[in-house]
């Protein structure tokens, strides 16, 4: 279980990295935390001709919080973001979510941006990004662009990133105080990829749900928003148990699900309903995750 040979580049600057990416295109693979990429290389499920290691680019290691947003550079580790998020109440969802990412040793090295770039449908970070309505900052020699997360995930391991582009950061707009967040995932073992998970946010103004985001992971081929369930919730009272039950029902019935060899579609669908019920029940009272 050793990787196939590859050429290795560890540029010091973003410009250099982008030039390499332009030159190698699809033959190149960006190496950030490597916690998903390295196993794929070892298993020879991936055999890129060249690796562009971005860990030496200082600008990508920045974690910046402003009044408007939290900008997480491509080389910020899960553990760093978790530490930051755990220290501020408005990032409760980030903290709750990242706590469930694998194990300490993996969180010390792996990156939220890398997880988003890989777009594993069972991973937490992509769903978190969708739930917080994040923007993805992509850069290439052609320039930088910012893409709404809703347009980013296209399918299993499929995103809107072009071959010559890399994620340089993801920014999470700071949610207002009227947002409540909840999170739960169901896994066989602690730290496993979830059988199903839910990142949920409700904007509650004067006791009414103004906006709802229910984002499932481990259920479909990408982070899946439960549109119908969200629509049912909007305008309602989060404390209304019947409303929550209808939302759970809708999530269960309507969410797009893809089963796996071991866990069938019916089971995943069922879990979507269970998660919706549980998380919304916690959000009935202010506070959340």
């Amino acid at each position: 279980m050793k990787p196939a040979p590859f050429a290795y580049h560890a540029p010091d600057s973003l410009d250099e990295a982008l030039a390499l990416l332009e030159a190698h295109g699809e033959d190149a693979q960006i190496l950030a935390g490597g916690q998903s990429l390295m196993p794929m290389l070892a298993l020879r499920m991936a055999a890129p001709a060249c690796l562009i290691d971005i860990n030496r680019i200082a600008s990508l290691r920045r974690l910046e919080e402003t009044d408007e947003a939290l900008r997480v550079g491509a080389c910020v580790r899960h553990a760093e973001l978790l530490r930051h998020a755990a220290s501020v109440p408005h990032w409760s969802l980030v903290a709750a979510c990242l706590r469930e990412v694998a194990h300490p040793g993996i969180r010390n090295r792996g990156t939220p941006c890398g997880s988003i770039a890989l777009a594993d449908p069972a991973a937490e970070a992509p769903a978190l990004a969708v739930a917080l309505d994040a923007s993805i900052h992509l850069a290439s020699r052609r320039g930088e662009r910012r893409i709404a997360v809703g347009d980013f995930f296209l399918g299993i391991y499929e995103t809107a990133r072009e071959a010559d582009e890399m994620i340089v950061a993801v920014s999470f707009p700071r949610p207002g105080a009227d947002w409540r967040f909840g999170f739960e995932e169901i896994a066989r073992r602690r730290g496993d990829y979830a059988l199903a998970g839910l990142c949920a946010g409700l904007k509650v103004v004067d006791g009414r749900i103004e906006q709802a985001r229910l984002v499932f992971f481990g259920v479909g081929d990408r982070p899946m928003r439960a549109d119908e369930a969200e629509a049912i919730l909007c305008g309602g009272d989060p404390a209304d148990a019947q409303l929550r039950a209808r939302a759970a029902e809708a999530a269960m019935a309507r969410i797009e699900v893809s089963g796996s060899a071991e866990y069938g579609v019916a089971y995943k669908r069922h879990l979507a309903g269970v998660l919706t019920g549980r998380v919304l029940a916690r959000l009935a009272e202010a506070g959340g995750a």
């Binding site: 050793k2 069938g264 089971y267």
Partner: protein, 792 residues
């Protein structure tokens, strides 16, 4: 021979393992830590097909790859290595085709080694393996063993007439009459999913030939170097004296590292052929696919109970998935026998009938894994017992107690043919009731369940046949040593140098033997150095299997210690001019009847070694002794115990969590309670793993789908409960120390207790399951929370 003093001495003392200091410092020496100058690194090209004919193998491109030294096929190895076929008098009619170190014209399981690439690094060997072109003709694969007996079934081996490797048919007593007159018949069909041992250190071998001496030195992660030495000598046509096998530290075995593996033999043959050291370290994927698997069974069993609530008979049918071959040399069918014969062994009953069809499949070879067969037997028995208790409205423990084999019923050979003696079922049950505070726990469970939780408590009484004696394989004509030997020498500084034929694989037998020797001679265990696991220095014997270390190796150690003690005392008496029986050895010194020191061991040893002229004429002290021990009665040493498990089911998700687990077991005289308790706990973890998580799964074409540790779920720290361990000590009556096997008891009963606990919880919702592992989907379906049919 004098028995050890029953008062607390070294035997029975909870000492930490001295050698663990080295492991804690990162100074272990595992096989993969060893390297030889000029060694080649091996990568096996393994079959991607479950079943295929091989028409042609083109290795030119691989050979031309820079850094590649050789690409070997069976036709190359055939000049230095013989193939083998598993034959055993214990399994008459066993049908298992010849096995080769590398495929010979056909592959019969996915992962079977086809070609061996040797290069200057493992990475380069892997590169080159991708360049070997094999012309396979895929053949239909026998992967669904449940239909394997049908007349038109796909054949795992086309040259055979059917897929039956072996059939077992045993009956004793009037089974039909017992069922005809039964007041209650309970039955179940239980599905056990294939799983495997997953020692953390993968199988590793480094074979180094010496052209000058003609010797082959093999460093291997293995449980029984002597057995491997014998087979290597046979296969490679060498004298045993020229084959040196040693293990160093072994990173876990559990039965996985006690078989003859084609890949390991291929490495040794390649080293002989090329005259170069060759190193092979299995990676995790090939470990998962090519280590022996175990325990793929569907058991349909019935139990008859009479009007008095007494169990009268068992009637059992087993379908056992064997894999492509019966493992060499012991035969995978040993699992069949041990999955069936212990059914019902904890109870008095009159009639027993078992039929097993053992099926050849195009899947990995199965073999002995910790507590061989017994977890199946225990699960089947204890499910039936629970079902009967429930049907009769009896408390599950009360029903067990009423039916238990009692001390006054033993010794006995039960209808299944097991020799049972020195068992303590009621005493263990009493201890368990106390340990779990049964009434309070039941009340607590009721209260929690009334609050909407779904908790269940399950029990499993068990009997495990340990420390197999000379009958087990000897009569079958299979060369497996059941005698063990310890050599012991007094060193000039008064310390002892010992060697033993049992092996250390982490279970702590090294510490145990040193404590036995220490007590037998009369000094501290830290004055004893002990070598194990090296055929060049330790005597021929069994190694590590069937929990034999203390029960058999311990007797040899005690015998050697007492012999040496006698020699020391005789020499001392000659020097001190007194009678030997007026002297003793205590704390490393020769003392008189009053306990006064007369001479240190060092002084004695120095006299004998350096100043022999001081000894009287005719005195020739033998300060090096060897002692062998074979048990002269009882084919195996039975042990018993009972386990309890408390589980919680999340009725919405189907997830099962084991909250707490208890074990009361009787392994006879305990040599080191600290280490024995940890053996029990580790064994329980493997039982819980099997009950809740672990599964080797294949698809319909025989493709293995659980090859990574992300797919094959093992219990981790977050999933394991705390395990409370207690003991009843009923010494084995056929040995001096009285120790019985302890290493596998945890695994023997844990899975059964967990499954019963799950079913105790499910019964509250009118549901049950009869399959392991208890996946969340399975549990949820049982609860009726999912449609019975999966969506397409």
């Amino acid at each position: 021979m004098t028995a050890p003093d029953p008062r607390p001495g070294e035997i029975g003392r909870p000492r930490p393992r001295a050698e663990s200091r080295r492991l804690l410092a990162g100074r272990g020496r595992y096989a993969s830590d060893e390297n030889r100058p000029g060694q080649l690194h091996a990568c096996f090209l393994r079959s991607p097909h479950a079943h295929a004919a091989i028409h042609r193998i083109d290795r030119e491109a691989a050979l031309a790859h820079p850094g590649v030294a050789a690409v070997l096929l069976w036709e190359d190895l055939a000049s230095v290595c013989k193939p083998w076929r598993t034959v055993s008098g214990a399994f008459p009619g066993l049908a298992s085709p010849t096995q080769y170190p590398l495929a010979s014209g056909r592959v019969a399981w996915q992962g079977e080694p086809v070609a061996l690439v040797l290069a200057h690094s493992r990475a380069v060997a892997e590169d080159a393996a991708e360049l070997v072109a094999v012309d396979y003709e895929p053949l239909p694969a026998q992967a669904d063993y449940r239909s394997a007996l049908e007349p038109d079934a796909v054949l795992a081996h086309p040259a055979m007439k059917d897929n039956i490797a072996w059939t077992m048919d045993v009956a004793a007593g009037d089974v039909d009459a017992a069922f005809a007159s039964a007041a209650l018949v309970v039955e179940d069909e239980i599905v056990f999913t294939r799983h495997t041992g997953v020692p953390l250190e993968p199988r590793t071998v480094l074979a180094a030939p010496d052209a000058a001496s003609g010797e082959l030195t093999v460093r291997i992660s293995h449980q029984m170097p002597h057995q491997l030495q014998l087979h290597l000598a046979e296969f490679l046509d060498m004298p045993m004296s020229a084959v040196k096998v040693s293990t160093g530290d072994v990173g876990g075995g559990f039965g996985i590292k006690m078989h003859v593996y084609p890949d390991e033999i291929a490495i040794c043959a390649a080293a002989r052929l090329l005259g170069r050291p060759v190193k092979f370290v299995a990676d995790r994927i090939e470990s998962m696919i090519a280590d022996v698997h175990a325990r793929e069974h569907v058991v349909r069993a019935r139990m008859a109970v009479d009007g008095e609530g007494m169990i009268t008979a068992f009637d059992i049918r087993d379908l056992h998935g064997l894999g492509a071959y019966s493992v060499y040399p012991r035969s995978s069918t040993m699992e069949t026998v041990m999955a069936l014969r212990p059914i019902g062994a904890a109870y008095r009953y009159g009639a027993w009938r078992a039929h097993a069809d053992v099926i050849l499949q195009n899947k990995a070879v199965t073999g002995q894994y910790r507590s061989v067969g017994h977890p199946i037997a225990t699960t089947v028995t204890e499910r039936l017992v629970d079902r009967a208790a429930r049907a009769l409205g009896r408390d599950p423990l009360a029903f067990r107690r009423a039916n238990y084999m009692r001390p006054q019923d033993m010794p006995v050979t039960n209808p299944a043919g097991l020799r049972l003696l020195d068992l303590s079922h009621e005493a263990c049950l009493d201890r368990l009731v106390e340990l779990i505070d049964y009434d309070a726990l039941k009340a607590e469970i009721e209260a929690e369940n009334a609050n909407g939780r779904l908790l269940g408590l399950g029990f499993a009484a068990f009997v495990e046949m340990t420390a197999s004696g000379t009958e087990a394989y000897g009569r079958a004509g299979v060369k497996v040593a059941a005698v063990d030997t310890v050599t012991l020498m007094l060193e000039p500084d008064g310390s002892l140098k010992a060697a033993a034929s049992v092996c250390e694989i982490g279970q702590g037998i090294s510490q145990g033997l040193r404590q036995i020797i220490a007590e037998g001679v009369g000094l501290s265990p830290d004055r004893i150095s002990l070598s194990l696991g090296d055929t060049a220095t330790s005597p021929h014997g069994g190694g590590a299997w069937a929990s034999r270390g203390a029960a058999i190796g311990g007797e040899a150690a005690w015998g050697a210690a007492r012999r040496l003690r006698e020699e020391i005392l005789a020499a001392a008496a000659a020097l001190l001019q007194c009678a030997p029986d007026t002297l003793d050895i205590a704390d490393g010194a020769i003392v008189d009847a009053a306990g006064r020191e007369r001479m240190g061991l060092r002084e004695l040893a120095e006299t004998v070694y350096f100043r022999g002229y001081e000894l009287p004429q005719g005195v020739q002290p033998q300060l090096s002794v060897a002692h062998s021990w074979r048990r002269e009665r009882d084919a195996a040493v039975p042990t018993n115990g009972i386990q309890a498990s408390l589980v919680e089911i999340d009725a919405e998700t189907g997830l099962v969590r084991c909250l707490k687990h208890w074990v009361v077991e009787d392994c006879g005289r305990i040599v080191n309670p600290l280490l024995v308790d940890e053996q029990i706990r580790g064994g329980v973890a493997q039982g819980i793993g099997a009950a809740l998580f672990e599964a080797c799964r294949y698809d319909g074409e025989g493709q293995f789908v659980t090859g990574t540790l992300a797919d094959y779920l093992l219990p981790m720290a977050g999933e394991m409960p705390d395990v409370v361990v207690a003991h009843v000590e009923t010494p084995y009556s056929g040995s001096v120390i009285g120790a019985k096997g302890a290493g596998e008891a945890g695994t023997c009963g844990a899975g059964a207790a967990v499954l019963n606990a799950i079913n105790d919880a499910l019964a509250r919702r009118g549901a049950s399951i009869s399959e392991t592992p208890a996946t969340p989907e399975l549990v949820l379906r049982a609860l009726g929370r999912l449609a019975p049919e999966a969506e397409p």
